[in-house]
């Protein structure tokens, strides 16, 4: 029988973790783009897109990410789109992330005092000028800490991609646990590796948040 050392387990997990990182980045960047578009639609005047964007956010925040992954995976196959599991999990995670980001950013825009809107309107700035020069620069500053914080949620979300067969850290952990018969060690290592990925980001988000609060005083 082949013996697996702790180093064998770790080596394979570290190799698989790169797919977790890559998938997280895709979801985060894609989610950022879609989220930004949704935010602009949401702020658009006349407010014809407010209700649809609200429904979108409610849908993705009110249903399990696992179901979204299943629907993306089986849905694409059902409609004859033969794509790799990469595409279907990237799509689901991108849409999921975009719903959270657009909601976070909307909150940041709403935190800008109403007088800023009124003052810029009275200066005859157009919507795009208002956004570019007045609202977004201020909203951007307060949006950074929660946005960084969401990255942790996205990284943890990618673990669910393992359920539809995407081989990343959790899936690799499952497979290694099955061949080594050491589920305790393997899942403890998997957990610690997620922790090693997420905890620094959490700390950084907290640091940014404190910095923003101090400068607002």
């Amino acid at each position: 029988m082949v013996q697996f050392t702790l180093w064998d387990i770790l080596r394979n997990l570290i190799f698989a973790a790169q797919w977790t990182v890559l998938l997280s980045l895709i979801a985060f960047l894609g989610g950022g783009l879609v989220g930004a578009v949704l935010l602009l639609l949401r702020l658009w005047r006349p407010r014809i897109f407010t209700a649809p964007v609200y429904a979108y956010v409610t849908l993705f925040q009110g249903t399990p990410l696992l179901m979204q992954l299943f629907l993306s995976y089986f849905g694409m196959r059902l409609f004859g789109i033969q794509v790799s599991v990469w595409v279907s999990v990237s799509l689901a995670l991108t849409l999921y992330t975009s719903a959270f980001l657009t909601e976070i950013w909307r909150g940041c825009v709403a935190a800008i005092p109403k007088s800023q809107w009124e003052a810029s309107t009275s200066l005859a700035l157009s919507f795009s000028e208002q956004m570019r020069h007045i609202i977004l620069p201020q909203a951007l500053r307060i949006s950074i800490p929660p946005t960084v914080g969401l990255l942790v949620q996205v990284i943890k979300g990618t673990a669910l991609a393992s359920v539809v067969g995407f081989v990343e850290l959790t899936r690799a952990g499952n497979m290694i646990a099955n061949v080594t018969y050491k589920p305790f060690t393997v899942f403890a290592c998997v957990g610690l590796m997620y922790f090693a990925l997420c905890y620094p980001i959490s700390l950084y988000a907290r640091y940014l948040e404190r910095k923003t609060l101090v400068s607002d005083r």
Binding site: P64, L78, K156, F195, S202
Partner: protein
Amino acid sequence: MTVELDFWAVLADWPMLLTGVIWTLGLTAIAMAIGILVAVAAAWVRSSGPLWLAVPVAAYVELIRNTPFIVQLFFLFFGLPALGIRLSPPVASVLALTLNLGAYGTEIIRAGLLATPRGQIEAAQSLALSGYQIFTRIVLPPALKKVWPALVSQIIIVMLGSAVCGQIATEELSYAANVISATNFRTFEAYIIATLIYLALALGVRQALNWAGPRFVFGA
């Protein structure tokens, strides 16, 4: 290519779906009841407890908050038997959900505790209330009231997260959808319906908890 969707084939299995909904709500209710107690205790420890307790509690909170739920669940279900602790799927699920809500709840409730005006505690002390009385009667109720919306959101996140428990064969809603799709091969329809039920549950539970909070949890 035409795709025919047959939702009735899935809905015909409604007793299965109903069982799943009951399991999902049951898991959530137990995790909520114990999780809030854990969170209140842990929040007390972190805000005013002794250091030798505060450090392990902080480690628990950070460890749970920075690892995926599915890994926590697998660790409890597949990992612990190596130590001779064998948990049934529902027990492992409830434990994982409770630990999860406890950790997130700790941070939420702690924020509420920290917002207590200093003068209120001093006034309570001058009335010779004990430390326990001050915490349970003066500090905690307004703190819970303040953070209740955030706590409700977290409870809903935990409920939606419980879909993962189907992966270890806990018979909750996503597991029911999985079983139904295995019998009639209407996989997409089964998950659409399960997803819509989750959405309805999320909206309904939020309403219910917003209603119940002021009446049963922190008083008017």
